[in-house]
Symmetry: C2
């Protein structure tokens, strides 16, 4: 069997952003305990040094597959982080070196991101990894510069969705209510939106189609469902 | 004086795209001759390994400043390239190692890009560098994977300009004719455009303002000038 050597200078980190209809979350993994009890800062993004014979995209896909069981997620390289001091925390560095059994150098990391809808039926296979969906508003202390990487990923979604709103509908179910769409805008842009203005906004989106169908089995007044029309969208903005 | 050590694993490369009203060009530099006559493939993008104490953005700015004299160009990190075989050409690798006097490892390069208008009055200070503006349609053999990096940069401009047309007006003079704007679209999208349809397209751009002024001293019928209205644009698309 071919062995793969870790590259001690380049890593990939994956920012998987999820929405459960209520808040924006990011998938974090726990830094596993090393034989010498090196624990690092606690939580981190899924990621690792690349192998020396490995392409960057390949490494990112393998990281996410291994941790989540997602086989072919939409993963986008969004920014590369290379501040000279990004691995200067000695706890994190020794944790990394013990985990990989490799002496690390200056590490530049390539950030990848993906967005998904979090559901109760979600069938992720987290295997032996301790993972958690953490609300982006309540990030704990994170290893390395991972807090900064997450913030940049959210800025990237904000920028992208302004110009390319299709990305937002990846975060919603096939049928969604105006409230769910508004809540998504609120968490992405981090500000409350006026209900009436938001309804005007929906009317101005020709690719958001009001359905005849309404919610059932709800205590409050049943809300109308909407759907995202990819065909209309692609006509306006080109293939997503 | 502090000495800076080259990092043998990470580099930056700058794709400076220019438009002279006629064709799209990219700035290339010649691989300088080494003491042992190692010449590499011939031409390359401006770029170099980063120094070990240097941030990525900082390195890219310094590269462009050193080669062009441009002090504060708009430079955007657009993609990181890390195919394991990207430095597999032995001529290029030995040229690089002789130039830097450092044994290189696997090199991942961070691609930066910028767009500018090429004019006769352009006051670039190329110092001792042999540089050339090469039409992107006529690229010679290039070092490493630089041809691929240039192609990706042009795809990036195409994507960006579709959603964020302001970037195109960086490539035009303050007053431009419909022909110049059409020619720019043609070279960016690499296809001819129908004159009549293109005039409709201009009319549909509220941020392109027709001026009363026309060309003077031209042999053909004087064409009307247009200008890009940043205020109207920003209202529509937000700050550029």
């Amino acid at each position: 069997m071919k062995t793969h050597a870790y590259n001690p200078h380049v890593s990939v980190d994956c920012v998987l952003i999820g929405f459960n209809g209520e808040s924006l979350k990011v998938l974090l993994t726990e830094q596993s305990e090393t034989p010498n009890n090196k624990k690092g800062s606690g939580m981190k993004l899924p990621g690792r040094p690349i192998f020396d014979d490995e392409d960057l995209d390949e490494a990112a896909h393998k990281v996410l597959l291994e941790i989540t069981g997602m086989n072919d997620p939409y993963l986008k390289q969004f920014k590369t982080f290379g501040a000279p001091d990004r691995t200067s925390n000695p706890d994190d560095l020794s944790w990394l070196e013990e985990t990989t059994q490799v002496k690390m150098g200056r590490i530049v990391t390539i950030g990848y991101m993906s967005v998904i809808r979090i559901t109760n039926k979600m069938n992720m296979n987290f295997q032996n990894h301790k993972v958690t969906w953490c609300p982006v508003q309540e990030l704990p202390r994170l290893a390395f510069d991972h807090k900064n990487i997450i913030e940049e990923a959210i800025r990237e979604i904000r920028r992208t969705s302004k110009l390319y709103p299709a990305i937002l509908f990846e975060l919603l179910p096939a049928k969604f209510t105006a409230l769910e769409l508004r809540r998504l805008y609120e968490v992405i842009y981090d500000k409350e939106m006026d209900v009436r203005n938001f309804h005007k906004k929906i009317t101005a989106m020709p690719y958001v189609i009001a359905l005849e169908e309404k919610q059932t089995n709800v205590a409050h007044r049943a809300a109308r469902y909407y759907r995202f029309d990819k065909k209309t969208y692609n006509k306006l903005y080109g293939q997503y």
